[in-house]
């Protein structure tokens, strides 16, 4: 069991550091720390969809936006309290996300990418033009939830809320990928036809993958207005999408720890890149390229090979693909025979 401890230890340390951050850090670092946790949630959700279930969708930033607008508008327009509006925002994103599973039944690869990209552009357009509801391109301020009862400032209070939500969603993602659902995702990604033949209902599992990822993005979105106190469409544009994709590729596709590591590294890099002022685009592009070139399977792959005891099961198609398929199929059959999660 020592093996399992290693990557968990890393995450425990990371979240322990995040937990004490408000005590020691200034407000800038606190804000970046809070954004970081939002990105971790986004990367986890996207990795479930792209890395595990193999659905190359480009709508994560749109789901993030739907969650944020849902949570913010319910407060501002209908006067709901944040604690009621936030879950509604997340569920709204999940519902819309689930609908994306239908095109995914017919499309894959670059075609699915474009269909979801078109959906994301359409979402942007709605946010920009549906003025009577969304306030249009100018955005709008949103009151932050109060934490005075706990003797905390709103910034610090919402930071701890994000921390708890992130930990819960991280643990949940972990459970999902180790369950029968997770195995079905991987099977569906690696050999869709074979998976179907083995009894993996494509509609059901694709819908599940899109719903899960929509819920994660929507939850991050629901935290957004509380963290920023302001919502406007440009926070959910294509650059956001690229950023989320970059996080899971840099961290490691098909790896839960990888999502967290990728998000941490990219947020950190983006802040460091502020030092490069005029040339930050070049440096960002070069780093992205370098990572993909020299570590195409992400940092977790590197960790797995170089850290003794790092044993997170990596769910990418390995070099000996057929062997992997057989293993997955075995696992699946056993899983379905047993009818239980493990």
């Amino acid at each position: 069991m020592r093996a399992v401890v290693s990557h968990r230890a890393l995450l425990v340390v990371l979240f322990a550091v995040l937990a004490v951050l408000p005590v020691v850090a200034n407000q800038y670092t606190l804000f970046v720390g809070n954004l970081l946790m939002l990105y971790m949630i986004l990367a986890l959700g996207l990795n479930l969809l792209v890395g595990f279930a193999g659905q190359l969708a480009f709508a994560n930033a749109a789901m993030y936006g739907i969650g944020a607008y849902g949570a913010a508008l319910l407060q501002v327009r209908l006067g709901l309290s944040y604690w009621l509006a936030a879950p509604c925002g997340a569920v709204l994103a999940m519902a819309i996300g689930t609908l994306l599973a239908f095109p995914a039944l017919r499309l894959s690869g670059i075609y699915l990418a474009l269909a979801t990209l078109a959906f994301a552009q359409f979402t942007q357009w709605v946010l920009l033009h549906w003025n009577s509801v969304t306030f249009g391109a100018g955005g709008f301020p949103v009151p932050q939830p109060e934490f005075s009862a706990l003797g905390m400032s709103p910034d610090r209070g919402i930071y701890y809320v994000s921390w708890v939500v992130t930990v819960v969603l991280l643990a949940f993602a972990w459970r999902v990928v180790r369950s029968r659902v997770g195995r079905a995702f991987v099977a569906m990604r690696d050999r869709e036809m074979a998976a179907q033949a083995l009894g993996v209902g494509l509609l059901r599992y694709k819908a599940m993958a899109f719903a899960l990822s929509g819920f994660y993005a929507g939850t991050a979105g629901a935290l957004y207005p509380a963290v920023l106190a302001y919502v406007s469409p440009e926070g959910f544009d294509l650059f956001q999408m690229v950023l989320h994709k970059a996080m899971i590729v840099v961290g490691g596709m098909g790896s839960i720890a990888g999502s967290v590591i990728g998000a941490s590294l990219l947020v950190y890099l983006l802040e460091v890149l502020r030092q490069f002022k005029a040339t930050q685009e070049i440096v960002f592009g070069a780093l992205l390229l370098a990572f993909v070139l020299f570590q195409p399977r992400g940092l977790v792959d590197f960790l797995k090979r170089s850290v003794p005891g790092w044993s997170e099961p990596l769910h990418y198609a390995s070099d000996s693909e057929s062997a992997f398929d057989v293993a997955v199929a075995d696992e699946l059959v056993t899983g379905s025979r047993g009818g239980a999660d493990r």
């Binding site: 474009l114 269909a115 970059a246 590729v249 005029a278 070049i282 070139l293």
Partner: protein, 293 residues
Amino acid sequence: MLVLSYLLVTGITTGALYALVALGIVVVYKATEVVNLAHGELFMMGGFLAYTLHVMVKLPYVPSVLLAVAGSFAIGILTDRVAFRPLMKEGLVSVLLATIGISFILKGVARVLWGGKGDYLAFPPLVSPEPMRIGNVMIMSQQLVVLLAALAVMLVFAAFFKTTRAGKFMQATASNPKAAALVGIHVSRVYMYTFGVGAAVAGASAVLMAPLTLLYPDIGFPLFIKGFAAAVLGGLTSVPGAIIGGLLVGILEQLAAGFIGTAIQDVSAFIVIMFALIFLPTGILGMRGTRKI
């Protein structure tokens, strides 16, 4: 009626811009099954190279254009070397992300080199800047040049794929790289030239389109995304499809703007793409299925 004919003609002339971008995307996709997300930036670099040579260094038009096209070709080959060849085996997401990395680098370089010269740089047109009359419709002469160029490039490519050895190599490589290698085709060289040719097309079209689109570091992406939509509508693998897709996207935008409202112009292409992909996933002239087994 005059309004409708203007909308249609304008749709065709803007569609020609998208078609030229789509052609480059299709040529690369046809051989490699990859979409180069930096294609728009290759276009932008081609335009700025021509601007530097023609407007700043004051070289004559033709040598400037030739050098700009050669420069774009070189950047295309570099893209293959850096982002495609090493990543082919890693899958689509890695290649896409690598080309995104390249697009950021190119944009950043352009901003450092040319970004401080003004907001939108004008490039002199090949023909008179005055509009001309065709029937009862006035159009910009340069728009006609772009349209003719798009058709010419299409014909050249169609002939190239049908009649030349190199073209057949490309198609063979695309349909089955392993078999192509077995019969002695140097597959990676084919890929390299494909990227080069795709970029050269982008560079050449940039010179023709720049008088209409103006030059600025961020011009690439919005054109790319419309060109990509056009390419998908045309089936991603079909050269005539790219032209038809481009014209369709152009006409669609104009009709939407003219009859529904100008607010919907920019997004209309995406709404159609969304539904077209769901209900017509192979595109108009596409030959491949949506799902590879």
